[in-house]
Assembly symmetry: C2
Homo-oligomer: 352 residues x 2
């Protein structure tokens, strides 16, 4: 599998299916792991990094994780390809922007992405559409076991798994869920809820992870504490209490809008369609915002001119790197905005 | 002719034809006149007003000006009908909002509107599409002569025609032209030009006259000084120097946009169309703003899905009073916005 194959499909996480998919775009679990035999990355020179990288990719690809996988040495690929992988949520922005020998091993369906030498030696990530934390935990746990048979982890009897950043020490787990909350946004309740989430020591971020603002109506919620609770407790609390509550609030807001603010709701949806189908130049932020409203219309059965698959695909294809890849190479901001508008008109089936 | 007949047609001034009609929407000339035999309005009681009103309407309608005309006693009609006449530029906002016996005599094609008891006893107004100041002056002058044969004007050898407000003393003439300047607006030159116009003692107002802001891209430019210059000088300077210069600037701006900022220009035009065809609720200001961009597209031959006549008609029909009249009666703001969006979708021929 090659990087260029990625642009020809949508990752599993953007299928728009799975439990609670009206509100939950995707779920992700990642584990941070370091290896006993190697120095932490902050203390490793480039020679050591290379050696570790080679050893780790060998250990991974000799298991069934290596089947049809994509192995990318991030230091050796074009900036556009790095950005592409960020947009597909396969690597973090930090990993793309980092330095030195580092990489990622991605499964063919993009539900697995093992980052090598991000902040820790290894980050095991699994990602699926909808709310599927139990499934993800089984997958992550299996990978964790598979690798632990081959390499010894840095582990402390008292603290648990040792990590580069103290916030990850303990289970090393981070559970995060991408929510689509246009209803709460329209009813002005989203800020209050996000404040409550922060009070519960949950982190709230934008569509593209750490360091990005919440863009449009998409919010990534994740746990911050990894110490003092077991993985099962964290996942249970998150998947069976916190997220279902937020999903319920969002669905209530949507119902209220449909019953009491019908025109305003339809206005948002149809204006979004009108603009997406007719703009001649459009930026990423506005596109995301408008596609969000279109998605809401489809999910609420109020808009039937476009299907969900097309919208989900457009979320990715209109991103900077994707747009440049499918248009054959680097473009400046102005050209990208024009190409983005053209792509949207084409795919949304407007004859104008 | 009845007031209700008005909503079924577009006044001559919105035909979108006539000289320089790419930029000049309409031209208007009005004369302020008072009568020797009557007290100024500020000193007339209601009985005197009534008597004067009857005498004046009689004098007007006994000439050919009475043919097929509409005579409206504004004090006796519904607020909606008053607002309707303001929107059609037949009476001023002050006249609609005034008190006591007052009226207007309108010709069938709406090129003539004689206001009785606005600020002065009589205001003779002629209004036509495009830049047609000479024609308008001939019309206004003929009406002036026709009435002067029947009633003696308040006139002073030294000052000229006497008026209620000193700014009108002298010729009592006001010449105004409604300009559509979307090009200069987009190139950020409009403010500078309007400042220059003000330095030349020209007044700049919005689409609906005195007290209204310049809305969207429409600007009403008129002379302020009426003393010390003859009517011919004022009209000549205005129609052959000031306005042609502004028209030229606007056309240059449009040409520049078409050559150098093609995408931004088309983006404006097509987004306007997309929104107008898909909104479910929309206010007057936004409608005006978007119709202005559509008009620009048609005038520049870059947009062919809608014809100019439809756009011009929509400028009027989407106004508050027109909208309520064609929908059968008073509606609150929310209902109006919904009805306005429905009307736009219908008339702009979108199937959605």
């Amino acid at each position: 599998m090659e990087i260029d194959d990625l642009t020809r499909r949508t990752g599993e996480w953007l299928r728009g299916e799975g439990p609670s998919s009206k509100v939950v775009i995707s779920s992700r679990i990642r584990l941070a792991r370091n290896f006993e035999a190697y120095p932490f990355l902050s203390r490793a020179d480039e020679t050591a990094r290379r050696e570790m990288y080679r050893a780790l990719t060998d250990r991974i690809t000799e298991t069934d994780l290596g089947q049809d996988c994509l192995v990318v040495n991030i230091d050796e690929v074009e900036p556009l390809d790095r950005q592409l992988m960020v947009e597909r949520h396969l690597i973090s922005k930090q990993h793309a922007d980092g330095e030195g020998c580092r990489g990622v091993v991605v499964s063919a369906d993009e539900t697995r992405a093992l980052m090598i030498h991000e902040e820790d030696h290894l980050r095991i990530q699994c990602l699926r559409s909808g709310l599927q934390l139990e499934t993800l935990w089984q997958e992550v746990d299996r990978i964790d076991d598979l690798l632990e048979e081959r390499v010894e982890y840095a582990y402390d009897e008292k603290f648990g798994y040792l990590t580069a950043c103290p916030t990850n020490v303990g289970t090393g787990i981070r559970v995060s869920v991408m929510l689509h909350l246009p209803g709460l946004k329209m009813t002005n309740e989203v800020e209050r809820l996000l404040r409550a989430a922060r009070d519960m020591r949950l982190a709230v971020r934008g569509l593209f992870g750490e360091g990005t603002d919440a863009l449009g109506d998409f919010f990534q919620i994740s746990n911050q504490a990894t110490l003092g609770k077991s993985e099962a407790e964290i996942i249970d609390e998150f998947g069976n209490e916190v997220i279902p509550k937020l999903v319920e609030y969002e669905l209530n807001a949507r119902e209220m809008l449909a019953n009491e603010r019908t025109y305003q709701l339809d206005d948002r949806i149809w204006r979004a369609y009108g603009t997406l189908c007719h703009a001649r130049t459009i930026g990423t932020d506005e596109t995301l915002f408008l596609l969000s409203h279109l998605r809401l219309g489809v999910q609420m059965n109020r808009f039937k001119l476009v299907d969900l698959a097309t919208i989900n695909q457009l979320f990715l294809l209109t991103q900077r790197a994707h747009l440049q890849k499918i248009n054959g190479g680097p473009m400046d901001g102005e050209k990208r905005s024009i190409a983005r508008a053209e792509l949207l008109r084409q795919r949304l089936g407007s004859s104008n």
